[in-house]
């Protein structure tokens, strides 16, 4: 597993996403899949940047590895901020009229839609969100 740890700041988003894109390119992911991975990674990292450290500076770590079957990519995003499981947030109601649309919850919804698996665990004082994408739909 390779990883990159940087201060959880928006200015580092590009570099963190480049790290994911490099891993995806090495596994011959096509443009469409790379787009989906970038989107999922952006949503998860931006969540950490926005909410994990409300009253102090902190870091975000991104780690990538091949899936055990070597048919896809597994990504973990972790932070040492406040305990938070984004997967417990209810999905946004997509049926309400635009005036009632809440401006939140969309990001993690997209991650769940676009990735093959998404899971959360709390370990050693860290939030760890892991997601996988296989090269071919299974």
């Amino acid at each position: 597993m390779r990883s990159l740890t940087l201060p959880a700041k928006l200015e580092n988003l590009e570099q963190l996403l480049d790290f994911v894109m490099t891993a995806a390119a090495e596994l011959d992911f096509d443009a469409k899949l790379k787009n989906k991975l970038r989107l999922a990674a952006e949503e998860v990292i931006v969540n950490v940047i926005s909410y994990a450290y409300p009253d102090r500076d902190g870091e975000v770590m991104i780690a990538t590895e091949q899936t055990p079957q070597r048919d896809g990519l597994r990504i973990e995003v972790s932070d040492a901020g406040i305990e938070f499981d984004p997967l417990t947030k209810p999905a946004p109601d997509l049926t309400v009229s635009v005036d009632e649309r809440k401006i939140g919850g969309l990001g993690i919804f997209l991650v769940k839609e676009l990735m093959d698996t998404v899971s959360y665990r709390r370990e050693n004082g860290k939030n760890i969100l892991a997601f996988t994408k296989h090269r071919e739909k299974r």
Binding site: L10, K32, E42, L94, T95, R101, L106, L110
Partner: protein, 112 residues
């Protein structure tokens, strides 16, 4: 009367009569979405019949970009039709997945 003109890195906003044209390119993500939001704020309170997002050059949109489009529809005016023109399939997929197609007029092309 809609007025104003802006150019940012990958966003340009121009106004003519009661139609605001927003040309998007590259990535509309957490980095660039706040820039677009600031530009669109300038349109609040102006009388606009149409707000047209030209998305032919847009490669990527994340929830930060989607939120700005929702914001635009909510704040710029009930009577403003919001159009999304020329979006490529991957962008369109995310738009539809998020339910934004319920209030956007989606077209392949637009002649203002």
């Amino acid at each position: 009367m809609c007025k104003g003109e802006t150019m940012a890195d990958n966003i340009s906003v121009t106004c003519k009569d009661e139609c605001a044209n927003v040309v998007l390119s590259g990535r509309l993500d957490a980095t660039s979405a706040p820039v677009l939001q600031e530009e669109l704020k300038k349109l609040i309170g102006q009388k606009l019949g149409k707000l047209v997002f030209f998305a032919g050059g847009l490669e990527y949109i994340s929830s930060a970009g989607l939120r700005v489009i929702i914001f635009a529809k909510q704040k710029i005016g009930k009577d403003t039709e919001v159009l999304l023109v020329g979006a490529q399939q991957s962008v369109l997929d995310v738009i539809k997945m998020s339910g934004l197609d319920t209030f956007l007029t989606i077209q392949d092309s637009f002649n203002g």
